[in-house]
Symmetry: C2
Subunit: 109 residues, 2 copies
Amino acid sequence: MTATTEGELLPQPAAAEIELVKVLHALGDPVRLQLFQVYAAGGEYDCSSERLGVMHLHKSTVSHHMKVMREAGITSTRAAGRVRYVQLRRADLDARFPGLVAALLAARE
Amino acid sequence: MTATTEGELLPQPAAAEIELVKVLHALGDPVRLQLFQVYAAGGEYDCSSERLGVMHLHKSTVSHHMKVMREAGITSTRAAGRVRYVQLRRADLDARFPGLVAALLAARE
């Protein structure tokens, strides 16, 4: 997690353009569902964060999963130098799909 | 829709075995998300029902989608002769993932 806000946001859909089917597709994968749960705790995560629980995966695999989530509108990614900081678009998701994030987090056993 | 209860249920996961990631994967497809929305109105649907809104798809494609949903635990399928009747496992889904079906239905624009 970091308190800085430097860097540029990578391309992402506007809140109003987030599509349910793409969100579900993105979360219909064990690794991405796990990342979603971690991100939901709040804050920013870089791809090498141990807190993500994906240290067993190749960095390019993690990057791919992060891209799918960003393009679906689930996360935003801030690029600062060579590091990418990812966070959940909780407010956008809650506005677009009321109750969905809460239900997903409650459901995740 | 039919009021009969003849025929046999095709194999499906027990309610306690329904996995969130499989449900999300199954619904992360435009056709299956549409079927889900139709099924959510209640009752049983055979695969040729015009109410499903999938008349433009080949019957084998529709059958495939129905199988994915059944195996994910979203629907149950009753086989009566050569006809398959599908319905949403609303009670099982609500018990397993409280609020999820409601949020998905509310979200579907």
